[in-house]
């Protein structure tokens, strides 16, 4: 079979910048999102009633006024959940409706279904709830002091970090602090639950993980999984925020739908979405690092601690990934990583593009910057001296070999095209001459592990039908959230049959078509689903080739699929003619495909193994200007060189690189989550929570994809994953700000810059440097 596939001449749209499959629908308002679907006339609209206290016992909850509101049809609380009142995927500690105890301000206590969303929202405010307030833990440090954790702390160690630290030629300590981040997908969380016959439920959910939504609903409704169909055609953005969170929304909608016996749409308006659903984990990292005169790291001891919020959710895996990215691009022989997963009385934090990786990287990048400042070396030199290299400098702290290292090539390339060295000198001159506006520059690398850490999730399925007119319908377990997955996988399928892209349509991701899928997450969408779809196509192609051989008396290598035609020996047929002929011969024109990532293994108890199939790399140089009177910053230029292997679609990949980068810039600069002293999130709408806007894209940007760099591993057409890695290119922007701040102090001084680097944070760092200098 492999023999056959190798000889088929396929020459369609792999590697071409074809447009997003829905682009024409997006721009004309014809792309249908969950909120746009026409509902049965009797459909209801729902809203949550939420806790207003961060931690407390519910003494009483009187919902009579809610229910008495004209237009209200049903109210659901914990006692209305027929099965398990939980949507926590790993640890079962996430109630759909809190019962007795509330653990964050914003936690759902009940939901209301009414004839309009406005009625439901207004009615929900009429609940009379009495709480007995309990002490709330709101910060990471307080949680550590209280020993408050959602899952047990973990340690990964190699070598003799403590001994080597004690005898290091130089040693410094510091703390990296970074805040969380709201996903701010433009489309808020939404589910539509439509009751079907015999107790079944059909659910439209804006979700990256239809299977988990299906399973959570099944458990909550005490139904077998086969009674639940979950479908998602597209999301208006996900970014990790629609991995575990949609199960809450969908399950609540189902409980209401069951109770009312009518279809229920539960859409969170923006404030509800931001108050109720989880975000990126804020982190602190206390590091103690030893190094030699050249800036080479001799030992590192680091404590990572994250704000997980009130429940485990995905915090275990998120923090595991943080552990696996503390090394980033650097070989650290003696290392000890302690990881605390802190429980606080805030919203339960969840997956977000990078999934802990960025926070781990920030720790080592800051430590390296400190080393460079201490030794008064160019930080890029210190970085380069610590890069992974040849054996024995090629093993990560968790035991995986870095076999595909291309950082040297990337770094040399970008150093040249960005004129990093010359610019650093120019900026130093500017800073010597200018007191008010300081400039800064930074070059940072990214090495990001690709695959779910947990081996089990690295599997995918696809379903491919060929119809007798030669058109192809594709379905796979991956979801479309804007990243272009449907486009890329359709390209793969078209390529296998030598068809134009227009011959392939992708139908909505659907648990009744491809079952038991993993979340579209960990950047793995195209890797997994592309391979699964390719497998299905090859099964079908083999059948078609065998049929052609039989009818035409040719050998398999004489059958070629190209440009919508099939060459069979000396004869040429259209693809549709061959398909027709196969149909007449009663050959199945539908096939499933399955893929499981090879080579990977992970010992979760020891946090050791080869969790990642390969690494994706990238480098970036940011330049900023900082107003030292106000702390305002501006990203004036960025240069990026990023590794996507052999790109399936350069336009889509570039979109991921640029979009990921700016999203990272937002996280590290403007986007500040701010809680009141009693634990209420006060930044819960775009009026108070500022994601980057159009002016934040730098005027000068040079974003390039590394050419001629096929993935050495056998991925789909030797491409690499691109969803998450570019986000971490934004660390260069934070470090450029750090560089500009440092220009306010004396040589060798280390800035204490807390992320997000809001104007206030930057001004505080400048003032503290200046007061030390005085």
């Amino acid at each position: 079979m492999n023999d056959l596939s190798a000889k088929v001449d396929v020459g369609a749209p792999i590697g071409e910048s074809v447009r997003h499959e829905s682009a024409h629908l997006h721009v004309s308002g014809r792309a249908v999102y969950a909120d746009d679907m026409e509902l049965p006339p009797s459909a209801l609209h729902a809203a949550f009633g939420i806790s207003r206290v961060a931690h407390g016992r519910v003494k009483s909850m009187d919902l009579s006024d809610v229910l008495a509101t004209p237009g209200v049809v049903a109210v659901a609380t914990a006692s209305d959940v027929p099965g398990e009142n939980n949507y926590g995927g790993i640890v079962h500690d996430d109630p759909i409706f809190a019962e007795g105890l509330v653990q964050y301000a914003g936690q759902p206590l009940f939901a209301v279904a009414a004839t309009s969303m406005t009625i439901a929202r207004k009615a929900a405010l009429k609940a009379k709830i009495e709480y007995e307030k309990l002490p709330a833990i709101l910060s990471i440090r307080d949680a550590i002091d209280a020993g408050s954790y959602v899952t047990p702390s973990q340690i990964v160690a190699r070598g003799r970090a403590r001994e080597e630290l004690a005898k290091a030629p130089h040693r410094l300590q510091g703390t990296m602090t970074v805040g969380g981040q709201d996903h701010f997908y433009l489309e808020g969380q939404i589910a539509v639950a439509i009751p079907g016959e015999d107790g079944t439920l059909h659910v439209h959910s804006s979700t990256q993980h239809p299977t988990e939504v299906q399973n959570v609903i099944a458990h909550a409704m005490a139904l077998p999984a086969h009674a639940i169909v979950v479908q998602c055609r597209r999301m208006g953005g996900g970014f990790g925020g629609k991995e575990s969170q949609p199960a809450l929304i969908a399950a609540a909608a189902c409980v209401l739908a069951r109770k009312a016996g009518r279809a229920v749409k539960l859409r969170l308006e923006r404030d509800a979405d931001m108050l109720i659903t989880g975000k990126r984990h804020g982190f602190i990292a206390d590091y103690d690092i030893g190094f030699d005169d050249m800036g080479r790291i001799t030992a590192l001891a680091v404590m990572l601690a994250s704000n997980c919020g009130y429940s485990a959710d995905l915090s275990g895996p998120v923090n595991d990934r943080a552990i696996c990215h503390v090394d980033n691009a650097y070989y650290i022989e003696n290392i000890e990583i302690l990881s605390h997963r802190c429980k606080t009385h805030t919203v339960s934090n969840t997956a977000f593009r990078g999934f802990g990786g960025p926070q781990g990287m920030l720790a080592i990048e800051q430590a390296i910057d400190d080393i460079a400042r201490t030794l008064q070396l160019d930080p890029l030199e210190v970085r380069r001296r610590n890069y992974y290299g040849e054996s024995p400098r090629d093993v990560t702290p968790y035991g995986q070999y870095v076999e595909d290292n291309i950082l040297g090539r990337l770094t040399d390339g970008l150093e040249k095209t960005s004129r990093y060295r010359e610019r650093r000198a120019e900026i130093a001159q500017w800073n010597a001459a200018n007191a008010i506006v300081k400039r800064g520059i930074a070059f940072t690398p990214v090495k990001f592990g690709i695959s779910f850490n947990a081996t089990v999730f690295n599997q995918a399925g696809a379903l491919v039908h060929i119809y007798t007119d030669g058109s192809v319908l594709l379905n796979h377990g991956g979801t479309e959230m804007g990243q272009g997955l449907y486009t890329k996988v359709a390209q793969v399928v078209a390529h296998e049959f030598g068809l134009p892209l227009s011959a392939v349509r992708t139908s909505a991701t659907d648990t009744s078509k491809v079952p038991n899928t993993s979340a579209t997450a960990a950047s793995s969408g195209a890797d997994l689903n592309g391979k699964a779809a390719q497998t299905a196509c090859r099964t079908l192609r083999t059948r078609l080739i065998e049929h052609a051989c039989k009818t035409h008396g040719v050998e398999p290598h004489e059958v070629k699929f190209t440009k919508g035609l099939v060459q069979i020996g000396n004869e040429q047929k259209t693809f549709a003619q061959l398909v027709q002929s196969a149909y007449q011969a009663r050959i199945s024109l539908s096939a499933t495909g399955f893929y499981a990532t090879p080579k990977i293994h992970w010992d979760r108890s020891r946090l050791n193994g080869r969790p990642f199939f390969y690494f994706a790399y990238g480098v970036a140089v940011s330049e900023v200007a900082v107003d030292t009177l106000t702390g305002e910053t501006q990203l004036t230029r960025v240069d990026v060189l990023h590794d996507v292997g052999k790109s399936l679609n350069p336009a889509i990949d570039r979109g991921q690189i640029e979009g990921g980068f700016l999203q990272g810039v937002g996280w590290l600069t403007n986007e500040e989550l701010w809680w009141s002293a009693n634990g209420e999130l006060k930044t819960h709408a775009p009026s108070t929570y500022k994601i980057p806007s159009v002016r934040d894209w730098p005027l000068h940007a040079d974003v390039r994809i590394l050419e001629h760099a096929p993935n050495p591993e056998d991925t789909i057409h030797r491409s690499k994953a691109v969803g998450e890695p570019p986000l971490m290119l934004a660390i260069s922007t934070l470090h450029a700000i750090r560089d500009a701040v440092a220009a306010c102090g004396t040589a060798g001084a280390i800035p204490d810059l807390v992320a997000p680097a809001t104007p206030e944070s930057v001004l505080r760092a400048i003032d503290s440097l200046r007061s030390t200098a005085d």
């Binding site: 433009l186 923006r270 159009v694």
Partner: protein, 491 residues
Amino acid sequence: MSEPGVNAIRFVLDGEIVEVADAAPTTTVLEWLREHRQRTGTKEGCAEGDCGACTVVLGELTGSGGDAGMRYRAVNSCIRFLPTIDGKELVTVESLADGDKLHPVQQAMVDQHASQCGFCTPGFVMSLFALYQQQERVNREQVVETLAGNLCRCTGYRPIIDAGCAMREYAEPTRWSRADAQARRRIDAVGALRRVSPLIRPGFWAPMLLDELAAMVEAAPDSLLLAGGTDIGLWVTKHLRELPQIIYIGEVVELQRIENRGGALRIGAAVPLTDAWSAIVAHVPALTELAQRFASPPVRNSGTLVGNIANGSPIGDAMPALIALGAMIELRRGEATRTLALEDFYLGYMKKDLARGEFVVAVNVPVPNTATRVASYKLSKRIDQDISAVCAAFAIDVADEHVVAARIAYGGMAAIPARAKQAEAALVGKAFAEAAFAEAANALADDFKPLSDMRASAVYRLQGAQNLLRRFFLEHATKQVLRTDATEVSA
């Protein structure tokens, strides 16, 4: 005199006159489109006018007779009440394509790979469409300014900017070319909606004359005056408030005027911020940046300058500059009128010197002479479309390099926008030099005891306020703009 559907809301959509008889006064344009009309291309992203996913374009008749033309501007449909588009043309993302043939704005977005998840895309298309109609040629800066009110979380904006820059390079479409947008049939369709008597609906009155308005407000003093609705819209969508009787001032012809009267600009209460700032900046170029950073184009196209004033928020961005310039407001109650210095209008947090039945008719903004050094600076987390942590404005009269008079006003520093009287006193009579400004900066600590909130801490607010005063001095002393965006970038 009776007109057909006189009490129905009437507007043009896709060339047809739509009559809506049964919408509640606070039904938003977005709600009507999505829920009443099943026209779901326009999206809700935030329901507060901050993300732009709901952007639509309104066409309005300008001029008359041979000079008649259509003016197209983007607005946020999520906070715009449906009755306020009476007499206008509504253009949504579904309106643009000619069958399957996309409009150049849309085709440019496709060709530049400018949509990913696509949810914000209709809003971007409509903001760019407004620019397409407004400008024969567009440059990058215009595109960026135009899109300040549209958020995209996927793309990083680069391809959208490129699409905006490329959109005028496509062949003229048959539908919605600039010429087609000004076609007689469009002008006539909107012209036919012109009212001869006010729109009076349950809960919503839209007087057309100032005297009518004054009489209505006096007769129903508990009613709510609505102009652009860029704040009041949120009372409905966010705070779920039931509004009293609304009196909409947007149709009052006398309030739509900007006049230059004896060295002052008189800006009527119904003048949108876009036009108000354009007039102010033409006379006070020092306020260009403030005008540009004031909210976003869709908000400025709906909201009014007097609305910002009458709302009386301590963080409104217009007040510091207007107070520093010595603006006066005109108030009216029944037949009685009075004028008041703007700074005296604010009595306490959201408390104003406004009697029952009284309303603001206009603001008079004196144009400073050349001896007055003017600046206004805003501090916020994001450059564009953010609410100030601190907003400062300075108008310092200088003679012989000495300060002869000083007006300094701040927003975000107190419960009301207010003058910094002690800082002013520290400057007057002193040389325009560092020492006096340092003393004035210290005095700010006596003028203000700011609060800490999600936008900034009290410490930062005070320090920021002081340093903005320092910036003002340095920029005037060095004749340089000391700002990050004026910094060179290494090539």
